[in-house]
Symmetry: C2
Subunit: 694 residues, 2 copies
């Protein structure tokens, strides 16, 4: 990040070449260290003496910037290593992204670097910019001014767009790092770096993938704990994820896992490219809001309405001013102005009127944040208003400006930026940015994470899983899955496995009527689909009849299936049917899920996800994040159910799948929950083990 | 819209006054007709001879622009009328928006105008701009250049923001009309005007309310039939709407009604202020897409990924190029470029490469629209690229540019705008605009609206409603509601009203077991909540037991309730429980609704709405717009249900509530639908009549 000397391998005199652009950027950026163009055919480039090769350079080189065509990169890397560099940036493209030959080349250069303990950025990296070091080691044209925002990007083009935007807004950046193909250094390394980097106040990132879920969460959480980090992830569709979704009735796509991981780690998620910039700017320039009560100041009624709508839509609200503020507003504004909230200063509002309103909102303890809107009227004085507002701008609560329009309001922008007040082109975008700040503030204020460890019979599950591995294959059927769950203190209806109808009657009489009967076969997982379940049997005659019927059905439906018997189970009390389960995400590991039971889960897409291990607080938040939560609390005369029982069920699953990584997937459906006091019941359950471990 | 002479009443020499701004705008705008400042204290203003009063003016005046303070407006209006004007614009504020005194003043001036048959715009109107007439009769600073976009706005501030934005983008406008408080002229008048106005090619509008739902739909549909109309409605919350929602388990808020009305009328709905401008620009500048297959051309991989994500999220897709296009792309691009879709031209893409890719996408019949993205690199030539692309830009399919960044890409903007190609600052916004174009194109290509009239027994419903009005009050209970529905050919389970247990047994035996029993009381509408329903009764003994039990329960639950008897009903076949119904929206009239049955409707917010009278096609679209549609089609091994039966149910309700406007609200819940061939059944139903008619 702070090399004393940089060699540009492949430096060129042709302005259309990357080797020229990179060298030119270094020179024009004002890099204070030594710049050595390396080109065997030139003596001098851009006024700098050229080296024909790295070996020629006296005193050695810290950083090598490689811009030669892909086939020549491995030689350039080897030469750089031989010359004793500590870091290499490969700007050249033509590697993994072009297919297997390129991939092999990429692996080769990564291996060379690893063996020599030289860190490699790229290939296909836009490069690195360190504004305080005056180093633009990239092929992006702009050297941004110094500031607190650092940029991490997997796409060079997104990086250049951010740079260009920052240049236009005169916004200062700290560091810009394009990680490219991530053959060695990845986003994790730089999240770690930014956490320690005092010049970085906020991190904004564009990612298409992450290298390791666990590492990402660790690094991102450590970073978010000390400064805000905003990430825009391009959410690629995954055919594999969809297939898994169809299987379990769980439709997260990998995107839900990312969302859960971001939430856990305190990463502010940007949904669009513009949001990335909008949120980053707000977080860099303004303090965090302590609450969700917003004062809106405007010189037009319409934009005030739009802001009020937007606030409600994101779950924030208009502040109710104190009596003093209301009185002072009424006294200080023209009679036609609306002194409520939004405060409508009218179209002829002058700078003084804005300043007064901002000041009053600032002083009112019932206000957590301020959004001020300037629309262009014939009398609008944008720059003067900006100066007046900036003078009164609060220091302990965030203030965001909305500049609606263009040439008539933009003269105010430079003044606002200079005063550290971010501006937005519409109310909706300012509100979204404020919401992002609020969520980050709430994450920062979260209670400490305490994962409850329940007393369980872990040894028993170990034995059951070993037995399953020996005899049953990867799919764990209902009976054994329930045994496992019982060892983790889930309540399961009493039941007995029977192998003939007389024994079934005996079992039913022991359990007490009514009972359910279910076929048990390692070859039939979806018992209901096979007609292998019968509920509410009331007497011995029914037991006998259905024993034969179920057996017959299995023979018809799946003649090759091995039938182990019929499970006779006590019917349990009624309640709300929900589903809880877990699926291992390829990146982030065990992901817990919750939804309503039955076919509704998959159709209504009302599923919440959370990463294991989970805390009680997080489990409750999962439930609250669904629309179904209203049902759990009791809606329209229906009694509510024991919400803590579901939360505890999720925590127990969390403990189980953390203890036993060989459980790849599991689902309890239905999990019947009644009113508080009634034990929740696992009515059906199944598991899938991983191939490796099983 | 084209006055020959305009009087400015309240014209002023003080630049901070609206009376100055309006006069100044008229003069600077280059108005060709006569401008007469009216001010009793001045001889001359801005170089124009001043009239002391309207009476002085020789030759009369066409349009009076009133800017005097509110208390003086009624006199100014009367004077204008006396002077023979045909139109009045009241710019002054201080009317309805300030309370009842202002409201009375507003009614007074509206009455004066109506009596004199003079049309009034405002009060609190920003004014009117007609670019081709060179008339800026407003207090907005800018006189936009001439063009095809007309603006209709209920908020002056939103209007000025649009004007300012148009000025910065050098986009031409036709007319700008700020309707203000709508004391006389409303949005309806101007929708009608724009439909006839040849200078207007696209209408963009900001509305907070509409004056009349029926009129709005008629005018908007007529306008949308000839040119696109985009409206951003500030969706204010309505406590009343919420209360109604709680009652029927139907949560539309008025917003759902607006959405349904916009959809019916072909109005493109903008969700945000920026979307209003984004969509309007695209529709004004580009042809409509014929399909949803999009070619994406980019000089950076990341923005291509973002575009692909965004397309999938809005339900559009990446085009699959023809073999010739693919071959030509491969041949014409550098080997590292991605010749698939998105086409990645690489960071060093020159204008020629862009032009070639655009040309190939244009020629390919498998492409319906093109999105091209320009990100800033050291080698990017924005203006030259813009010129090259504009030359090859297709004429018969839409092309939208994304200019990511700022100073490095903006030099291309002027060229694009000049060539009629709209530009967007992010892929997501270009994709949203394209989606809006696609939806409008689909609406334009919709089949003719044919509302089916089913043969029904209308006379019988008339008689039943009269009887209800005489005896039953406003709430129509289950038994009579079912009789009404049967007259409109709904299938209802056979049933008999009984008044003692022996008769109930007799009825059950006639109907055939199993049966349901339900209490009948005009005072108990929510029978289940009162414990007044018992299903699946299998023999005479059960009938006798539950007859007594239900009666007892009613006495306990609602001792004052009048019990008419117990309804014995044949149990109907199983199927999927859905809800269909109708609620009258205060603006748009009868709004049909569909959702899953039971408590899920309200909790899961998966409800579709549509305006009656509805066509078969529209009813089917309603069903398709819900997530539950997957359940109707048959999900996860469950058989699908007879979708046309639900659609027909909606159409029959549509006919019923159109025939009988006294039905204020009705709900069939559950409506049990089975597989095709099985008659759908009305298992429970209720209605509410309007007070006026009932």
């Amino acid at each position: 990040m702070t090399p004393a000397s940089i060699a540009v391998i492949g430096a060129s005199r042709h302005p259309a070449k990357i080797g020229y652009a990179v060298l030119d950027n270094l020179v024009r950026g004002g890099f204070g260290g030594r710049i050595i163009p390396v080109n065997p055919q030139a003596d001098e480039l851009l006024g700098l003496p050229c080296a024909r090769s790295l070996q020629e350079i006296e005193g050695g080189v810290d950083l090598a910037l490689i811009t030669v065509p892909a086939p020549a990169v491995d030689n350039a890397v080897q030469a750089s290593i031989d010359a004793g560099v500590t870091g290499i940036i490969v700007v050249s493209a033509g590697f993994k992204e072009t297919g297997s030959a390129g991939g092999a080349l990429e692996e080769k250069i990564a291996r060379l670097c690893a063996e020599a303990r030289v860190r490699l950025l790229g290939p296909k990296s836009l490069g690195v910019i360190n504004t305080r070091h005056r180093m633009n080691a990239s092929f992006a044209r702009h050297m941004p001014s110094t500031g607190g925002i650092s940029v991490l990007t997997e796409s060079g083009a997104v990086g250049t767009a951010i740079l260009d935007w920052a240049a236009a807004r005169r916004l200062g950046l700290a560091k810009v790092i394009a990680i490219g193909n991530k053959a060695d250094l990845t986003e994790i390394d730089f999240l770690d770096h930014f956490a320690r980097d005092e010049e970085t106040k906020v991190v904004i990132g564009y990612l298409e993938s992450i290298s390791s879920g666990d590492e990402f969460i660790r690094a991102a959480e450590a970073l978010a704990a000390v400064k805000p980090v905003v990430i825009f992830r391009a959410a690629t569709t995954q055919a594999g994820g969809q297939a898994a979704a169809r299987h379990t009735g769980f439709k997260p796509g990998a995107d839900v896992a990312y969302a859960a991981a971001f939430k856990r780690a305190g990463v502010v998620r940007a949904e669009t490219f513009e949001a990335l910039i909008d949120y980053g700017t707000a977080l860099a320039m303004q303090p965090l809001p302590w609450g969700d009560r917003v004062a809106v100041i405007t010189n037009g009624g319409g934009p005030g309405v739009v802001t009020a709508d937007a606030l409600e839509q994101v779950g924030m609200r208009l502040a109710s001013f104190s009596a003093e503020t209301s009185a002072a507003l009424k006294a200080g504004l023209p009679p036609q102005a609306a002194a409520g909230n939004p405060i409508d200063l009218l179209g002829d509002a002058d700078p003084g009127r804005y300043a007064r309103a901002v000041e009053l909102a600032q002083q009112d303890d019932a206000v957590d944040a301020i959004i001020a809107i300037l629309t262009p009227h014939a009398m609008t004085q944008a720059a003067a208003t900006a100066r007046a507002v900036a003078q009164r701008a609060p220091v302990d609560k965030p203030m965001l400006m909305v500049l609606m329009g263009s040439v008539d309001v933009m003269p105010g922008r430079a003044e606002f930026v200079a005063s550290g007040i971010p501006d937005y082109p519409s109310p909706e975008r300012a509100v979204d940015a404020l919401r992002a700040m609020r969520e980050y503030a709430a994450w920062q204020a979260r209670p400490p994470r305490v994962v409850t460890r329940f007393p369980v019979n872990r040894r028993r599950v170990e034995r059951l899983l070993v037995r399953q591995q020996r005899t049953g294959g990867l799919e764990v059927g209902e009976v054994r899955a329930k045994e496992i769950l019982r060892a983790y203190d889930f309540k399961v209806p009493e039941g007995l496995l029977t192998t003939e109808s007389d024994l079934a009657v005996e079992a039913a009489e022991k359990l007490g009527y009514p009972v359910a009967m279910k076929i048990v076969s390692p070859d039939i997982i979806h018992k209901s689909d096979a007609g292998g379940v019968k509920l509410s049997l009331a007497d011995a005659e029914q037991i006998r009849d259905f024993y034969d019927l179920l057996t017959l059905r299995v023979m018809r439906h799946a003649p090759e299936a091995r039938l182990e018997g019929i499970y006779v189970e006590k019917m349990c009390k009624r309640g709300l049917e929900v589903t809880i389960g877990m699926r291992r995400d390829p990146k982030f590991g065990p992901m817990l899920m919750f939804g309503l039971g039955g076919i509704f889960v998959e159709v209504l897409e009302d599923v919440a996800a959370g990463l294991a291990p989970i805390t009680a607080e997080e489990a409750t938040q999962m439930l609250k994040s669904t629309r179904s939560y209203e049902l759990l609390r009791g809606a329209r005369g229906q009694a509510g159910v024991d919400i803590s029982a579901i939360s505890q069920g999720l925590q127990r699953i969390s403990q189980l799948v953390t203890d036993f990584p060989q459980i790849a997937e599991m689902q309890i459906n239905p999990f019947i929950v009644g009113p508080p006091g009634q034990d929740p019941m696992v009515v059906d359950a199944r598991m899938m083990l991983t191939e490796a471990e099983a």
